[in-house]
């Protein structure tokens, strides 16, 4: 294998930094969900990369669990965004002022 571990880790760091930029700058709720997805994916990439280079299989198993949990998280997050959109008629998170029903 020609690629070293550090290349994958650097790509993962770049993706993490982009995701944190998106989370801190964007006020659009759906775009913030994009940023969360990028952060989760950089973590998954790290898991699989370290599992390849150690090598063992637990890293891949943990990455599979992480992908499944992220799917559940996105489903709930999108439902929350839809509820908030119906309530405030906007997806700007600065408009989501109260958590009261």
């Amino acid at each position: 294998m020609t690629n070293a571990l550090i290349d994958f880790v650097l790509v993962s760091v770049a993706l993490l930094a982009i995701g944190i930029y998106g989370l801190s700058v964007k006020r659009n709720a759906i775009r913030m969900l994009f940023a969360v997805e990028m952060i989760v994916n950089s973590a998954n990439l790290n898991l699989v990369a370290f599992a390849r280079f150690i090598p063992n299989s637990q890293g891949q198993t943990l990455a599979l669990f992480s992908i499944a949990i992220a799917a559940a998280e996105v489903a709930v997050g999108l439902a929350l965004i839809i509820v908030a959109y119906r309530m405030y008629n906007n997806i700007d998170i600065a408009d989501f002022r109260s958590l009261k029903g």
Partner: protein, 170 residues
Amino acid sequence: MVDSIFLALSVLTIGSAIVALEIRSLIYGSIGLMLTLSGIAGFFLLLDAPFVAMFQLSVYVGSIAVLILFTVMLVRRELIFNKIEDSRRRYAGIGLMIIMMLGIGTIIIGSGLKSMETDTASVDYKKIGEDFLTYYSPALIVMALILASAVIGALALARREDVTSDQRTD
């Protein structure tokens, strides 16, 4: 040294991640997110983890990205093309991103990870299946319950309470 496939994949992944956050239309943004997730799946293939790569493709690209695309289409048209951010925050965010990249990057380059290469064969994906059904089977059951409850919770959250059954036209 890295090969050309790795370079192309990293350009695709990082570039479409930036596009997903910065392009004006949310629909093109979700397509950019789809490309980012496919790029990550390509990295998994490079790392000799075909099972995780197929899982990533089917779960992320197949379901999550499509779910996001449909949610975007539910939102009003002028909100899709509306970029809401203030420019000072944006410059601070770009600064934070560059500081994080350079800081964590220098730490990682300076650490001992650089010498870590492997010549051993990769783990057979049959081992993952055996792990799932033997050692990790309680965790697998718990994860199935979590997924089911999350989906039911999402359905219950997104249900419209103002529409009763006698108002429906069908």
